[in-house]
């Protein structure tokens, strides 16, 4: 009986072991399933796929250290419907993610790119065919932009989702044909008819400028998301869930449809 218990425990440990094992990325990344743990420059040197294995946190690449730089080098990062393509953990402050000039797509993930860290720069590649393209989760001072010709599109829920973030900046992006919204600022995973953020979670101080969002429901500031600025964008459909836009500033945008007269 004791022997069987020992065997069982050993088997259980072996089974749990690999799920929590962390493989550190080398500076040349040639397969999914590694974690960046040193503040250095990393290059993705081949197309990556979820079938190569994932990190313990269910991502292709986790970034767990501050001041790392990751260059995608125009390679595809392909998921199988779950998990995260590139996950910048909360310790990955000051990460710089560079997509490249003519990039392949980050596609097929629940979240193509997720940042949980402050002061991150994402010069994004194509992000398409995910549930949500880019998620900024309770981040401060993240910056998302694209080079010309690159877009965030055909994601089934949101193109870009800012959930409880402050002072993030989204500019020079082309976001279109996403399921619920191109950009969603709020906590609901089902759009503005869902449950909004609580007062302690709300997003404020985010800035959106020089972007193109449309033609589907394109840029939404959820109820409670205030003190954001939306300026000089082309927006197919703009939505502000706050009465009289509260303290959000919508200015000099070219908008096809809006839900409120305070949106300009």
């Amino acid at each position: 009986m004791r022997l069987k218990l020992l065997e069982f425990t050993l088997l259980a440990l072996l089974a749990v072991g690999p799920a929590y094992a962390q493989k550190s990325c080398s500076q040349s990344i040639v397969a999914c399933g590694c974690t960046i743990t040193t503040a250095m420059l990393y290059n993705i040197d081949v197309d990556l796929s979820a079938s190569q294995g994932l990190t313990p946190q269910n991502a292709c690449i986790d970034v767990a250290v501050a001041h790392a730089k990751l260059i995608i080098n125009n390679h595809a990062i392909t998921g199988a419907g779950k998990g995260i393509g590139i996950h910048i953990l909360s310790t990955g402050t000051y990460t710089f993610l560079e997509g490249g000039f003519v990039s392949q797509a980050v596609s097929g993930w629940e979240f193509g790119i997720e940042s949980d860290a402050n002061n991150v720069i994402i010069a994004a590649p194509f992000v398409q065919g995910n549930s949500t393209g880019i998620l900024l989760k309770q981040t401060y001072n993240n910056k998302v932009s694209l080079i010309q010709g690159v877009s965030i599109f055909n994601n089934s829920v949101y193109g870009i989702w800012i959930e409880g973030g402050n002072s993030n900046q989204i500019n020079n992006v082309d976001v279109g044909q996403n399921g619920i919204a191109g950009v969603y600022v709020g906590c609901s995973s089902t759009g503005p008819t869902g449950s909004p953020c609580t007062a302690t979670q709300v997003s404020s101080g985010n800035v959106f400028y020089d972007g193109s969002y449309g033609p589907k429901p394109s840029l939404i500031l959820e109820t409670g998301s205030t003190r954001n600025t939306v300026m000089n964008n082309i927006i197919g459909s703009a939505f502000d869930g706050n009465t009289n836009c509260d303290k959000n500033v919508w200015f000099d945008n070219v908008i096809t449809t809006t839900n409120a007269a305070c949106i300009h």
Binding site: L41, N43, K69, I71, N73, F96, E98, G99, G100, F101, I121, A123, N141, K143, S145, I147, Q148, Q169, N171, N172, V207, Y209, D210, T229, M231, N232, N233, I234, V249, F251, D252, N253, V254
Partner: protein, 285 residues
Amino acid sequence: MKTSSFGTLLLSTLLVASAGAQKVCSHSIISCGCTITTRGDYAVNADLSAAQGLTALGNCIDINAAHAKLFLRGFKLFGSGAGSIGVHVLPAARYTFIEGSRPLLTGLNNHSVSGWMYGIESDADNVIIDMPTVTGNNVAGVFLNKTYNNRIVGNGAVGFGASFNGRYGVWIVGGNSNQVNASFSEYNGIAGIYVGCSTTGPDGTPCSSAEASTGNVIYNYDSEDFEAPMQPYGVVLEQNSVRNTVMGNNSGTHTQFDLFDGNANCANNVWVANSFQTANQSCIH
């Protein structure tokens, strides 16, 4: 004699008062010579000129309050050269946002901030400059003076970027953790982007170690000329400017170097994924 002294004193007082007088900007700005002193939204609603008068500090618009937003809206800011600045973000004006880029709504596309010593100068931290066309300024299009976490962006290849300026398109002096991306510079006198203290390029006197610029990130930016006179340099990190990142940029056809690092073996600067033809060191990629 007493009357004369009193008159002189009165005149001096009036002159000093006049020199120090500050005209506060209204939320609709229609002439040069005012200072933004309260957070809020301010829109330029006419072409502005130095001939309309300057601020007490000698500029077209000074910003001296945190969290102000200034919309240039496609209008021009004409300077008269000399020592004045088009828009000057003073040290107290943290979190200023200058929206100068492609004026979608007004349809004006020939907007520019030109003819100043610096088109736009920021001395404050956490400023966003969505760059208008900044051309034909005596020294630099945009000047970051010892700033932290400023962000200069443009709107891709729209307009003329930071071009045709006397020395630099964008000049960062003693700044830390600033970011420059999504625009372009061409036909400037010395360099498209210059990080350092010298007013004469990398041959001049560099910053001291205490003044040096670090942690700046320059990415997805173009610096390219197509005909003479071409810029001598594209992007320059001056000697002692270290721990900066230059990544994913396109720089070409300069008469000296497309990319230049004044530090031995690039020190701790990172140059990667750039497209260029000439560089002064093999550590530049």
